[in-house]
Symmetry: C3
Subunit: 357 residues, 3 copies
């Protein structure tokens, strides 16, 4: 029987507030998503990545993949996008990521869905908001985990002063361990790995801790570009799309999704890290300052660690700090000034990449 016109149940979701989260809750996020060659083309068109493994079925198959895998960050954005309506639509700030692991390659045709478990809660001293820690897990259509990561966000309370149901801050590793890195990468036949086609003669062993690499090029971002990207990920955060509402915010304009910056910086990093074809883990990341349309993104990397993968002779890992700036070339590797970040820095990301040995 149809519902009643009198007092219909409100159909629109306003999203969860801090007091709606309970430790141990598992949220099933909406809209499973089949990733296709169309998504891959758009990803290429939005950022310009040139890693041969993700760009060429022929190259990928030669070294041991069934076909070219989907870019790890495209997987991240799709898995992440699903969490927004449930986790961060009422967030004041994205505070951090940790312990992100890419556990299985994703191929066109795979369908991704996401769940998030509430692993920590801590209210602010002011009592009008609290930090929600979730572990989000992306799975393919076979139920296999392709990505797992922890994230924490500052979420408003619906009713300031409401006490938290419980308080617990999870312990999260500062970095994923090298022995946990190889699962997302099949065994590779390096005899078929062609450095000329890959675009770099530098293998894993050619990098050293402390080495800094300026990625040289700059990429200006337009409103249409970040909106097209963010919708592709079915990320609904209104700050990225509502130019009308944005006029009355402190910035006065739309904010660009932080993941857009990560993908731009990663694509720029090809010049200097052309063989770093697979992101195995995200150790942590901070969006240090906002990016707006019209700004130009530059990037540089520092090699933090060089690690072998236990039992593997085909690939090795580099722990990399990827720093992005706006409107500031990175020949001098800008990062901190005094206590804080250089005002031009917008991203400080710590991740593990795999390279052929």
């Amino acid at each position: 029987m149809p519902g009643s016109t009198q007092n219909p149940v409100p159909k629109t979701s306003a999203g969860r507030f801090f007091e709606d989260f309970h430790l141990g809750d598992v949220i099933v996020h909406a809209t499973p998503r089949t990733v296709t060659a169309g998504d891959v083309s758009l990803y290429t068109a939005l950022y310009g990545p040139r890693f041969a493994v993700q760009s060429s079925n022929a190259f990928a198959q030669a070294i041991g993949y069934p076909t070219a895998p989907v870019d790890d960050l495209l997987v991240f954005h799709i898995v992440f996008g699903k969490t927004v309506p449930d986790v961060s639509v009422n967030a004041v700030a994205n505070l951090g990521y940790a312990d992100g692991r890419f556990l299985k390659p994703v191929f066109p045709g795979d369908t991704l869905s996401t769940t998030s478990e509430v692993i920590g809660l801590k209210q602010t001293s002011a009592g009008d908001a609290g930090i929600v820690y979730v572990r989000s897990i992306g799975r393919n259509q076979h139920g296999e985990i392709v990505l797992s990561y922890a994230r924490w966000v500052l979420v408003r309370k619906r009713t300031p002063g409401t006490p938290a149901h419980a308080e617990q801050v999870p312990e999260l590793p500062k970095a994923v361990l090298p022995e946990e890195l190889g699962e997302g990468c099949p065994p590779l036949d390096l005899s078929a790995y062609d450095d000329a086609l890959a675009g770099s003669r530098f293998r894993w062993g050619d990098y050293a801790p402390g080495e800094r690499i300026d990625h040289v090029d700059g990429m200006t971002v337009e409103e249409a570009e970040h909106q097209i990207a963010t919708r592709l990920y079915q990320n609904t955060a209104k700050v990225h799309f509502d130019g009308h509402g944005a006029r009355s915010t402190r910035f006065g304009k739309r904010l660009i999704y932080g993941g857009h910056v990560i993908s731009l910086a990663r694509a720029l990093s090809f010049n200097g890290l052309g063989n770093a074809f697979h992101i195995a883990a995200l150790n942590g990341g901070r969006h240090v300052a906002p990016l707006f349309a019209g700004d130009t993104v530059f990037a540089w990397s520092e090699v933090l660690e060089v690690a072998e993968l236990p039992g593997r002779e085909d690939v090795g890992a580099l722990r990399l700090r990827l720093v992005a700036t706006k409107n500031r070339p990175c020949a001098d590797h800008p990062l901190k000034t005094g206590e804080g970040y250089d005002p031009d820095v917008i991203l400080d990301l710590d991740y593990w990449a795999l390279l052929p040995r």
Copy 2:
């Protein structure tokens, strides 16, 4: 033999004028179009729809589709786009739609083509233009009708004062009847329909006539976005693309394709109508005011009717009024002011959607 340089036949089409249309003429429109996963990705990236049936092959297959169907409005835009060079390139105005029925799902790989029959003609009292009524039919590569709709446009005469060949105004239904709605939707296995993945716990029976739903979010439109969309549909209407020529029009800038507004409003309507996965029919629609780049679109819906589909227990129909505004949130459901539309309203669309019961 090659043609002659002397007086070559003009090769460029200027499109049909009012006196070029004859009652009963059937126009075969150019450029059949294979719809692909690439088109689906672009559609997602341009509007951000989140309906699970169209987003996930796994979800669609579980409930009874062979694979995820193409969004109904993407089908509409492609079928419609082909008619522009033949029907409306010399149109002064798009006056209305009626009796639009989605009769068969479209899947990636299907090739769509369109024919239009002239079903009505009526010249204006001023005698310099006339209304042309056409029924446009979109077919797949098997010749099966996937979409049929009537449309009427005001078209200039080549020679003002030329009499019409005939005059006839077709009778068109105010709304498609519920018994005509189910053809575009296969029988569904509701036991596999997962509300959490679909993103809404509200089924067909939870809605009541008269209910109004504010879809909350706003989406700002950029020139690049509507141009990319409109070209994707191979719609050639120059008002959407020629910024140089637009400077000397009354608006002074490019107009956004009305269908772009429909798709934006429909995508926004997911928040409140997440299970309304299939558009079964377009009863009528008016583009009340133009949209321009830089404007932000908001939307709200009213439930006009709740109808069972004869013989079907799996899905029911909601007749919905979908109203879009520009630069005006819709918490107060803006529509009319006095005699006419509220000046912020840009779209008033009447359609039937199917939902699981």
Copy 3:
């Protein structure tokens, strides 16, 4: 063993300077690229081409293709894009193209890679730069040549005054010969070629040398559009992307990739050349003036030659001059004023197209 922190080898490529090129060198360019239905959709969305052969699998299969081939210019842009980091990243100017032949159709799923041979070198009289002539060859995953063309660019020297290793200017044909044109087009079954679906009743024999065709419509270009296109081709030329750096150049803004203009003009040419479905050869081309975002592109064509293809009754060739302008409709076919080009002209392209007979 990991490399040393002391004096690591610089990992970033600065590209080749004039003295880095040697006659006879063959450069293997990075990043083989699998072309997909996603790329085809983006190409359609960026330019709006309406040629039935490339748009519809059903149409293409009916006349003898295994499936719809990828637009010839999309193939060109992808093959060309790979050469940029190696050939023209330090170029002062793109001087010309010649002897471009499309030798094999490309289909979604094919993987393209590019090599370039240095076929000529000539330093400037000032001694600070030189002209580098390359022949670039695009191959599919079977090693078959799909495209071959010559190009010459003016490249800076790293050290002004360094003498060239050798000097040689290659002889390049003014136009590809008609007997060399058919390889990229399979034998066609014209009985299945439907002019109504193709969008033009004018076949090869209806065109005459000297005929001029105004393509009427204009298309305004946005920054987001040309950036999305140019990244899709993995073309890294910084002048197209770095708005920050561009502020200190003589133009003060980003330059649009010349190939973007070619594709826009070609798509506009459908109105007047709807059956000219295949580009068989690029005889030569000049980017006469730069295009910037916000400009509107118009185009017109002149039939230069009408040629039979030896041994083929299915298709014939038109040699066409395709002229594009900015912010200037082409009803009066603008080209030269006095000695030079009309200041509104931006492209003067000479190519061979095939049409059904």
